[in-house]
């Protein structure tokens, strides 16, 4: 099926030769594979804008995040202050755990697949998801939680520890070896711990070295002591920032003294650790490979030189860290720019850069929505009127609609776009291919819940027409009832009546006999039901009632004019009965009907059945006259006695 977010590209003979749309050529090349030479038979390509929604493993991401999104929209707005913030942080964490779960699945898929192309695709997806989680995590720390000086550093340390995992295998190797201190990478691992502020683990490893090397016991004790005493911000409010700064200053001076005294001079490793503790940039930069990224460098720097850094000061340190780390050798990548924008608290920049780099709108739509709920985005009016959050959600949801099953998620997203959501929904929902009745019912329910009457009518008409074409008259009627579509009900009734006229009997009696109140939907339908009732009464030999019904059908003008002849013909057997059924009144009525019929259309008699028609009319006249005669006598006599 072809959806609204897709484009049909048709290959023509002109495309290959000459310059006519080089773009089309590269497009067909990429879609069809490179084929030069003779023009092939023309094919039509479906070009999809949003490829990602078709990746199986990402479906979990879309579904779960939809649940989180809905939860967020419905959450209590009245909660203010801390509890609201905690709630929003929890939502952010939920999003991140979904991203991580997806990463896991994708990783499993990459490992277990044999197809190298697929493996490449999965691996790319894993790194994209990983980057997304990295960015989201940083945004959570800086924007959603808005960590203040003190806790900010701790959060950033957690962030680095979680995301810089290139060193994990090395760490594992050393720790699991027989005597770690003899391992050639031992000092690297100690450095890693120190750089990431994992003091306890570093001290534990150093103790192994000390016990293996008693000569350096003295040095070890001092270093260990320094590391133990290092003041770090705490999450609880046991100390103020000023207290921390004071303590830290003292400790820093103490470290300085030991270094200058040459305490560690004999052991270059320990000396470099001491320099790192003092925040010596060059010493830290020496360990570039262990840090792998400039933001790791940033956080290490902050840990050892400005642990009480304030959020607004981050930008300066970030910029200088990146410059120092990259050192002019390499230029920043898109991920680096995004993180930099985050450190600079330029939210709009973050979102803009992410939108450009990522291939679908999932990330920016959900992140922006969350930030909007944190009341952090000023309504930035874009030139077509809606704000950024709404724009991104609309784009994301529109992408979902081209998927045969994820469109249901899109509906909820449109619901929460106050300005244009409804219009978008109205346009998209009519274009969903309705392959089964169940799908149509789901779409209808969505439309009905939102009072989209136009769409309800249109969808019901489509389904009713399909049913009619497949000769499922009951289904067609059921759809017309749902849409309260009197015109269509009339159409169906006419079909039934036509069938009757052609075959002489009713099809689908189970339907007509059981119309119930839905009979009143259209006059024609009422007529059909009543006409069938007439037949039933006749079959049950309840002639007077049948006669009365027949007459009502004509006089109350429920019957269509085209059917009057048939009705009158149906009256014939009743007129010819031994017993007199029609009263005088009724007979007069019948005669009047007949005259109306014949008088009204003299031209219509001029078709093939001319003879039959005139014979019928004559027979009727005769029967009516005879009946009249009998009934006058009968009524006269009865009254007499």
């Amino acid at each position: 099926a072809w959806g609204p977010a897709e484009v049909l590209v048709c290959e023509t003979l002109f495309g290959r030769a000459g310059g006519a749309s080089a773009a089309a050529r590269t497009l067909t090349d990429s879609v069809a594979g490179t084929e030069d030479g003779a023009p092939s038979s023309s094919r039509v390509f479906v070009v999809r804008r949003d490829q990602d929604i078709y990746i199986q493993t990402l479906r979990k991401l879309f579904n779960e995040s939809h649940g989180i999104f809905m939860g967020l929209q419905r959450s209590e707005e009245e909660l203010a202050g801390k509890s609201r913030k905690a709630q929003l942080v929890q939502v952010s964490k939920n999003y991140r755990s979904v991203i991580r779960a997806c990463m896991e699945d994708m990783h499993q898929a990459a490992v277990s697949t044999r197809d190298p192309a697929l493996q490449g695709q999965y691996s790319t997806q894993v790194s994209i998801l990983s980057a997304m989680e990295l960015i989201w995590n940083l945004c959570e720390i800086l924007f959603v939680e808005a960590a203040t000086a003190g806790p900010l550093l701790l959060r950033l340390l957690d962030w680095v520890r979680l995301h810089v995992c290139d060193v994990d295998s090395m760490v594992r190797e050393v720790l699991s070896s027989e005597s770690p201190s003899k391992h050639k990478l031992f000092w690297n691992v100690v450095d890693v711990f120190v750089l990431q502020g994992r003091m306890d683990e570093a001290r534990h490893l150093l103790s192994k070295e000390a016990s293996a090397n008693p000569a350096s016991m003295n040095m070890y004790k001092i270093l260990d002591d320094l590391m133990k005493k290092m003041p770090v911000p705490s999450l609880s409010n046991t100390q103020t920032l000023t207290e921390l700064e004071l303590k830290w200053q003292h400790w820093h001076e103490e470290c300085q003294r030991y270094l200058q005294d040459g305490t560690f001079a004999s052991n270059p490793h320990m000396e470099s650790i001491c320099k790192i503790l003092l925040g010596d940039e060059d010493a830290i930069l020496e360990k570039k490979e262990l840090m792998t990224t400039w933001y790791h460098f940033l956080v290490t720097r902050l840990l050892y030189s400005h642990p009480t850094v304030k959020p607004m000061e981050l930008r300066f340190y970030a910029q200088s860290s990146m410059d120092l780390f990259l050192g002019g050798e390499s230029s920043p990548e898109p991920l680096d720019l995004i993180l930099m924008a985050a450190f600079e608290f330029e939210m709009h920049q973050v979102i803009k850069e992410c939108s450009i780099v990522l291939s679908n709108w999932w990330f920016v739509a959900h992140l922006t929505d969350l930030l909007d709920h944190c009341k952090l985005l000023q309504s930035h009016n874009l030139y077509f009127g809606s704000n950024m959050r709404e724009f991104l959600l609309l784009e994301y949801a529109s992408g979902l609609f081209s998927h045969h099953s994820l469109w249901q998620l899109g509906v909820d997203y449109f619901d929460h776009c106050p300005q244009y959501g409804r219009v978008y929904l109205e346009l998209h929902i009519e274009r969903i291919p309705l392959s089964t009745e169940q799908k149509a019912l789901k779409v209808l329910r969505i439309c009905e819940q939102r009072q989209m009457h136009e769409q309800v009518r249109s969808i019901c008409k489509i389904m009713a027409m399909k049913a009619l074409r497949n000769n499922r008259l009951g289904s067609a009627l059921s759809w017309s009832i749902r849409a309260k579509d009197a015109a269509f009900a009339t159409l169906i009734s006419d079909r039934f009546l036509k069938d009757y006229c052609e075959r002489g009997c009713f099809s689908d009696l189970d339907l007509i006999d059981n119309l119930g109140p839905s009979m009143l939907l259209s006059d024609r339908l009422t007529f059909l039901g009543k006409y069938r009732e007439f037949h039933r009464l006749y079959g049950e030999k309840r002639f007077p009632e049948a006669a009365r019904l027949l007459l009502t059908l004509m006089t109350a003008h429920i019957a269509p004019c085209s059917f009057w002849m048939t009705l009158l013909t149906d009256a014939l057997p009743l007129l010819e009965q031994k017993e007199v059924i029609f009263s005088a009144e009724q007979t007069y009525e019948l005669m009047r009907c007949l005259e109306d019929l014949t008088a009204g259309n003299p031209d219509k008699q001029k078709f093939q059945d001319d003879d039959i028609e005139t014979t019928k009319v004559e027979m009727l006249r005769l029967a009516l006259a005879r009946n009249l005669a009998r009934v006058i006598v009968k009524e006269g006599t009865v009254e007499g006695s």
Binding site: Q56, R59, K60, N63, H66, G67, M70, G71, H404, S405, Q408, L409, D412, S435, T436, E437, Q438, L441, K442, R445, Q449, N470, N471, R472, L473, G474, S475, L477, S478, I481, S507, D508, D510, L511, N514, L515, G516, P517, S518
Partner: protein
């Protein structure tokens, strides 16, 4: 579209599972590709599953437990079709399937009823145009009789022993002909039938008497997709709906007022007063007295979002699937 039939293990107690999953997390054992949407499915026996497809095909899959694979065992193509079997645009969705080994009955959007026998190539019996509207669901009433519901709100009984292609009885709702989407029969008392409608209404019928339902219970806010009596504990009924909720209807409180022999379902020769004898044959489902009825209704889904399309219940386990592409397993239903 990539639709698959999958078999999952819902985990045993005390099983640590592979890859460090905490025990109880369902994990996928095997799956197989399926053509078209899966409209309905049922186990035929321990190893075989009958699946109804939106393409009109009915397939039997075999689950090989020794090597955990699925294979297609037998297929009836174009079991349901519109107009002409030979035209390519023919297929009509098969909407319901019910099994009573070795017999399989299917119904579809083409208003057709098929009776198959497992491993027999052709249909044993086909009732063409059994209904002028779509048949939404089918279930066995007795071994030779089936119940169907359709989209003009009719419940029909068909006697498969008879050769005529007419239902032996037709029941319908009073008032608007709201389409009925699901039907289930009480496991022990075969005259009690429950149906669910497009307006979310649950109807309980006593098919021994009258042509109208005994009680109408306003339930869901949208189509009720499935209704199931608990097979071993029929005082409990479960319904799921497009509105995203799954309701557990519990009338067991009613039973406690009645003489104790009803709990075992057996007969007792103990002396009973006349009124209790009359009361004793009336199931909790048919009792009409609102003051006496203590039915507990619980919504089993805390945060409902999208439709719950299907459910099944066995013993203390409840399984249901939603449009959010998630399957939920509740193993402690009556805890």
């Amino acid at each position: 579209q990539d639709n698959r039939i999958s078999i999952w293990s819902a985990g045993d107690l005390g099983n640590a599972g592979l890859n460090g999953e905490y025990h109880g997390e369902p994990h996928l054992l095997c799956d197989i590709q399926h053509n078209g949407d899966v409209m309905d499915m049922q186990f035929l026996d321990q190893e075989r599953i009958v699946v109804a497809s939106s393409t009109g095909t009915v397939t039997i899959f075999r689950h090989h437990q020794n090597n955990q694979t699925l294979s297609a065992n037998h297929r009836w193509e174009k079991a349901h079709y519109h107009v002409d079997q030979d035209t390519s645009s023919g297929g009509a969705a098969c909407t319901g399937v019910v099994c009573n080994n070795p017999e399989i009955v299917t119904v579809g959007e083409d208003g057709r009823i098929n009776l198959f026998r497992a491993d027999q190539k052709d249909a044993v019996r086909t009732i063409d145009n059994a209904d002028s509207s779509t048949l939404h669901a089918v279930t066995f009433l007795r071994t030779t009789e089936i119940l169907t519901v359709n989209s003009i709100g009719q419940l029909k009984i068909w006697d498969l022993r008879q050769q005529r292609n007419e239902p032996s009885q037709i029941f319908s709702l009073a008032g608007d002909r709201v389409p009925l989407h699901c039907v289930d029969r009480h496991p022990n008392q075969q005259h009690i039938v429950a149906t669910g409608g497009q307006d979310g209404m649950l109807s309980i019928w006593d098919i021994r008497q009258g042509t109208m339902p005994v009680s109408l219970l306003n339930a869901h806010e949208a189509e009720m997709w499935e209704v199931h009596f608990h097979p071993s504990d029929p005082d409990h009924l479960f319904t799921c709906s497009e509105d995203g909720s799954l309701w557990h209807w519990d009338t067991s409180a009613n039973v406690s007022e009645k003489p104790s022999f009803l709990h075992q379902g057996g007969r007792s020769t103990a002396y009973l007063s006349h009124s209790t004898i009359n009361q004793s044959v009336v199931s909790a489902w048919l009792s009409n007295d609102p003051t006496k009825d203590r039915m507990e209704i619980t919504n089993l889904i805390p945060n409902q979002t999208l439709s719950v399309n299907s459910l099944d219940v066995l013993g203390p386990c409840l399984v249901y699937g939603t449009d959010a592409e998630a399957i939920y397993v509740n193993r402690q239903l009556f805890a």
